[in-house]
């Protein structure tokens, strides 16, 4: 099934920091509940997180939000350091993690400049009442292994299956909602776009082409590292800064 190059476009300008994507991801992917102590211990698992930065001096303070998930790098630094091939780049342009193989050296996490690889320090636990809400399509990861955003690969697989049964293509318009990862579907402001960069007719390809032009807003994160990410960010349109710049 070679050919796709799944990727995402994040329009930072639209992000309002509501964290809906985070919650959607948690419930879609069987991520244990992050309690306060997990955050205090810095062991919370959030496959997608919204980083918040404060800008400016009081009273002129602005909150800036940027959603960060696995960038599914073309030349991912996390992949070659794994001694057991637990992570590699598959032929759909995804950086995949094989839980069975992982032995938990945490080397990949160290070499990931985006901090998007998470380690299961404990056996995951859910309150009794939530036992029946686990997604049957997603593995519950045991302790001692790494996990990270998969671009909801289970949804991609399911959509492909449905599409091929219907004799259609997974990238067709009608399958868009079922193909999109949970975070994309949950986003109220259409900050996130998901699609196939190899398909010249896809929405993301069109956006990429438009925004990569000279005055476009496209950039990738930590470009100087040469990781060649599969997630493209669109710069914030900063009216205020422009006003300041132009007097």
């Amino acid at each position: 099934m070679a050919g796709e190059n799944w990727g995402m476009i994040v329009d930072v300008d639209k992000c309002i920091g509501c964290q809906a994507c985070v919650v959607a991801c948690q419930s879609e992917n069987n991520i244990p509940i992050n309690e306060e102590k997990h955050f205090n211990e810095r062991r919370a698992i959030e496959w997608i997180r919204v980083e918040r930065y404060w800008e400016g001096e009081f009273p002129d303070v602005k909150a800036r939000f940027i959603p960060i998930m696995c960038q599914h790098c073309g030349d991912a630094p996390c992949e070659p350091v794994c001694p057991v091939f637990a992570t590699y780049r598959n032929d759909e342009g995804l950086n995949v993690q094989i839980y069975n193989r992982c032995i938990g050296t945490r080397f990949c996490s160290n070499n990931c400049p985006y901090h998007v690889r998470f380690f299961n320090f404990w056996e995951p636990e859910w309150p009794e009442s939530l036992h029946n809400q686990l997604n049957p399509d997603v593995t519950v990861r045991s302790r001692g292994i790494m996990e990270k955003c998969t671009f909801c690969i289970q949804r991609i697989r399911r959509t492909k299956r449905t599409a091929s049964r219907a004799g259609a293509d997974a990238t067709d318009e009608e399958f868009e909602r079922s193909l999109d990862p949970a975070c994309v579907n949950a986003c109220p402001t259409e900050t996130l776009y998901f699609g196939d960069f190899n398909d010249p007719e896809s929405k993301v390809s069109a956006m990429k082409e438009k925004e990569s032009k000279r005055d476009g807003r496209a950039y990738t994160m930590l470009e100087n590292l040469g990781t060649n990410p599969g997630v493209i960010y669109l710069k914030k349109i900063d009216k205020h800064a422009e006003d300041v710049a132009h007097g």
Binding site: P80, N224, G226
Partner: protein, 472 residues
Amino acid sequence: MASGNGAHGALALATPAQVNRDLLERHQRRTGDTYWRAMALFGALFVLGIIGFLMRLSDGFSDKAVWGYYAAVFAFILTTAQAAPLVAIAPRIAKGHWRRPISRAAELWSVVGLFNLLLFIPLLWVLPSLEDTRRTLWFFDAQDPNFSQVPIFSPHIWATLALVGLVVTGFMLLWVSALPDLAAVRDSASGWRQRWAARLAPNWQGTSQQWNFLYHRTGILGAFYFIMLIFVHFLISVDFAMALVPGWIDALFPITHAANSLQAGTATLLLTMFCLRQFGGYKDYIGLDQFWALGKLMFALSLLWFWFWFSSFIVLWYGKKPSEQAALQLMMVGPYLPAFMAAFVLNFLVPLFTMIWNPLRKSIWGPTLIATSILIGTLFDRIRIYVPAYSVPGIGNRFVEKHELSEVPKSILPDMADIFMIVGAIGGAIFIYLLASKVLPVINVWEQKEMLLYRVHKPFHRIEVLVLGKRD
């Protein structure tokens, strides 16, 4: 190790007095034809080099790219001739007796430092000032108020001072360690030699106080020469090569640059020894012992060459940052691949696969040939570093991206002037060395005499063994 009784430099002369007489006689003997022929040859090359330099000078300093080969030659002399004295210093500190016959030949190379200092002067005009906000050792950054407190000509000023310091230290070391020999020349020679020796060593009488002074000063000056050499390599390799390539950050490079000079310095000395033995008539003094010991040292340093190179390479190769890829492309795998391969083969592969054979290490020709290979390899190595670094467009232009090399420039082949300068500078260095060898005895007379005290052949039951004494 196999028994080496017969392998030590044959010492037909048994007493210090004999050694003294013999060596001083050799030093003052009427100069032979070989010497004059060599002088003529290298003098001619030297003239050729000056012609090449004038040709290059006519191009002016505005285009740095054409000066790449010149910088490479300067670095080559720094790496070879100026490092050779270390080969005398290190074994002296480790109290190795085998170094005694060759320590003068090594120290004499510090004379060439003066020549290299002259070679350095044009580079001061070639290297742009710090105003282009490139990276530098001196943290100059016009935009950043914290980093703009240094003169914009810092690299030029401090590198010059350091180089002058190195040359002065070299001369001091040469002079102090030659004092007893100069006194001997003063007492036995006649004519200009006597006058010069008397001027240089007016009151050396050989009191124990003077000897202590000598041991002490040679130790300190030797250590200081070593430190200065590392420091000069540091300044030159960073500000005169690394900082010119945007995005090239290699913390090991200055140390590699210096480590290469140890290897090349050993090779230089080996070739010098070979010439002294073969053409200078010092067969009785310079023997298998010296070649063997230096051969082993050179072998070890050749392995280190690989280790230093690989330590840098694997980090840059694995890291795969675009800036790192560009730097590798520029100096190793891109247009300068042939030069790099030559350096790799001649500096590492050839020594590795030949010098692991002890019979080859323990011969006269073996180490000599490998030393030649290493010197040629070092020249290629310097070319593949300095020529591309100087050819990067935009040095000195403050509007060019300084963090990443966006486009790898094409390779530059040496033109006539470059070739003239390469042979001329090497010829000139040898020419100056030959001149200096007439002023001072090329074999250290006092060390040679001292060795007779500490090195005794004794019977031990059924064999004769060599007993080496080590002074505390």
